[in-house]
Amino acid sequence: MTATTATPGTTARDRFEPALMRRKLTGTFFYGACIGAIGILFFALLMLLYDVLSRGLPWLDPDFISGVPSRRPERAGILPALIGSLQIGVIVGILTFPTGVAAAIYLSEYAKDNRLNRALRTNISNLSGVPSVIYGIFGLAIFVRALGFGFTLMAGALTLTLLILPVVIIASLEALKAVPDSQREGAYALGASRWQMVRGTLMPAAAPGIMTGIILAMARAIGETAPLILVGAFTFVTFLPNPIEGGYTVLPIQVYQWAGRPQPDFQGISAAAIIVLLVLMLVLNALALIVRIRLSRHIQW
C-alpha cells in the first residue's frame, strides 16, 4: 500500500486518516445534536410538569375536588367540570364505538375498491386534519341551532363524537388490517357468511386494537377545549350538569377560564385543575394498556 504513493513521506494512510477523523467527528457532532434535540424536548416536558405541579399541588385538596366554582379562588372547586368531562367522555365513547367500528368494518371488509369507497376513505383522512375549532362551528350551527339541542352537554358530546370519529375509524382500520387473511379464509371455509366471519372471527381478533383506539380517542375528547367553547361550555356552572338541559362545563374549559385571569391564585387553581385533567387522561391511557393486554391474551397466530 505505502509503496504506491507519489510524494515521498506521505502515505495514503496519512492523507486518508485526517479526513476520516473529520468525517467521524462530524458524525459525532450530529449524533450529539440528535441527543440534544431529544434532551430539549425532555427538558420542556419536565419543566411543564414541574410548573403545573408546583403551582397546582398546594391547591389540590378534597374540597377542591368536591367544590363548585367560585369567584374566590380559595373556595373554588371543580366538581361540575369533572362530572361534565366524565359525562362527555362516556357519551362520546358510547356514540363513537358502534359508529366508528361499523364504518371501519365496512371500509375494510365490505367496500369494493371503487371510486365511491376510495372517496369515503380519502374523506375520512381529510376529516382527521380539520382543525377542532371548525368542528365547534359545525356543532354550533347544526346541533345547537338547527337540531335544537341548545347549549347542552349533549350538543358538546355530539360535536366531539364527530371530531374523534375519524381517529377511531383509522385506528380500527389498522386493527382490522392486522388480522391475517388466513383467519378470514378459515371462517369462510367453515361456511360462514360475511357478517358471521366479521362477528365471530374478526371482531374478537381486532378487539384489542379497536378498544385501545376508542379509549385513547375518549382521552382526546376529554382534553379537547376549542370546539366546546363554541357549543357553549364556557359558562359559570355551580351545579352538576344534566346532559340534555341546562349549562355545563368541562375540565379544560375550567382551566382556560381560570388561566385567563392574571391573579396568581387563579393560576394556582388552574394548575390544580390541570393536574386533575392529566390524572384523568393518565387513567384512561392505563386503562387502554390493560384492555389491550387482557384482550390480546388469547390471540395467537
Binding site: 458524525g27 449524533y31 440528535c34 403545573v52 364504518a103 361456511g191
Partner: protein, 303 residues
C-alpha cells in the same frame, strides 16, 4: 386483502344485506360531516359577503370585530396565524427531524424506550395545558430574561414556541416512518463504499425519505395553523399587521374563540364574520393536507 377471501355461499340472506346497509350508513357519517361543514361555512360566509365586500375582507389591513369603528380586513389575522406557524416550524423542524433520525438510525432499543414515550406524552398533552405553560413558564422564565421589557405578557413568540412543541411529535413520527421505510440494502450499499453513519443518513436515508419528511412538515404546518387553545392564551387579542414576534397579535383561531365567548347574537355581522374566518381557516388547512397527501402518494418510492 379481504377482496380475495369471499364467503362460499353466493346467495345472501336479507339480514346480510341489511347489515351491509347499516355499515355503509356508519361509513357515510364522515361524508355527511364534510358536507355539513362545507355547507354551513359556505352559507354563512355568503351571508357575510352580502354585508361586507369580499375586497375589503381579503385586502383590508385592519380588523376590529368588537370595538367600533368595525373593520373587516382579514390580513392581520392571516399574518398573525402565519407568524405563529412559522415560529412553530422554526422550532419544530430541527427538533422533530433530529428526533426522527435518532429513532430511525441511532437509537438502541433502550434509548427508544425513553425517546418514544417523551414524544407520545408531548403529543397527548391537552393543548390548553401548553397555553398555560406559555403564559406561566415560557414568557416569564425564557422570554423575559432575553428580551427584557421589549416583550409583553402576550406575544406571538410565546405562542409559536408552545405550538412548535406541540407539532414536533407529528414531524418526528411521520419522518421516522419515512426513514424506517428506506430499505436496509441502500444503507448497506453506502456502508460498503466506506461511508460513515452520518454520511449514510445525510446522503442516502434523508434523500430517500424526503417526500415523507416534506409531507410531515406540511401536515405540521396545517396543524399549527389550526391550533387554537395553546395560541388563545399565549398571543393575546390584538389583531395587527406585524411580523415582529415580540408583539401581541391575534390568530384566526383565537378570533373565533374570542367572538364565541362574547354575547354575539345570531345574525349579527360578528357572528357571520366567525364563519367567514372559519371558512378561510378550513380552506387553508384542507389545501395543506391535500398537498401533503399528494406528496406522499406522488413521490412514494416503491422499494
Amino acid at each position: 386483502m379481504s377482496t380475495q377471501a369471499r364467503p362460499l355461499n353466493r346467495v345472501r340472506p336479507l339480514s346480510e344485506r341489511v347489515i351491509e346497509v347499516l355499515l355503509l350508513a356508519a361509513a357515510s357519517v364522515g361524508v355527511l360531516t364534510t358536507i355539513g361543514i362545507v355547507g354551513v361555512l359556505a352559507f354563512e360566509t355568503f351571508e357575510f359577503f352580502r354585508e361586507i365586500s369580499p375586497v375589503e375582507f381579503f385586502t383590508g389591513t385592519f380588523w376590529s370585530a368588537s370595538i367600533r369603528p368595525f373593520a373587516w380586513g382579514i390580513l392581520p389575522l392571516v399574518t398573525g396565524t402565519l407568524l405563529v406557524a412559522f415560529i412553530a416550524l422554526i422550532f419544530a423542524i430541527p427538533l422533530g427531524l433530529l428526533s426522527a433520525v435518532l429513532l430511525a438510525e441511532y437509537a438502541s432499543p433502550r434509548l427508544r424506550n425513553v425517546v418514544k414515550p417523551v414524544l407520545e406524552t408531548i403529543a397527548g398533552i391537552p393543548t390548553i395545558v401548553l397555553g398555560f405553560f406559555a403564559i406561566n413558564f415560557v414568557t416569564p422564565n425564557l422570554l423575559k430574561p432575553i428580551f427584557q421589557d421589549d416583550i409583553g405578557t402576550f406575544s406571538a413568540l410565546a405562542g409559536g414556541i408552545v405550538v412548535g412543541l406541540l407539532i414536533t411529535p407529528l414531524i418526528a413520527s411521520i419522518s421516522e416512518d419515512a426513514m424506517s421505510a428506506v430499505p436496509r440494502g441502500m444503507r448497506e450499499g453506502a456502508y460498503a463504499m466506506g461511508a460513515t453513519k452520518w454520511e449514510v443518513v445525510r446522503k442516502v436515508v434523508f434523500p430517500a425519505a424526503i417526500s415523507g419528511i416534506m409531507a410531515s412538515i406540511i401536515l405540521a404546518m396545517s396543524r399549527a395553523i389550526g391550533e387554537t387553545m395553546a395560541v388563545v392564551l399565549a398571543v393575546g387579542t390584538n389583531p395587527q399587521l406585524t411580523l415582529d414576534p415580540r408583539e401581541s397579535i391575534q390568530t384566526m383561531t383565537a378570533f373565533i374563540v374570542q367572538i364565541s365567548l362574547g354575547d354575539t347574537s345570531q345574525g349579527s355581522v360578528q357572528f357571520k364574520a366567525l364563519f367567514a374566518v372559519a371558512a378561510v381557516l378550513f380552506t387553508t388547512t384542507l389545501a395543506l393536507n391535500l398537498i401533503s397527501n399528494r406528496i406522499v402518494s406522488r413521490f412514494r418510492t416503491a422499494y
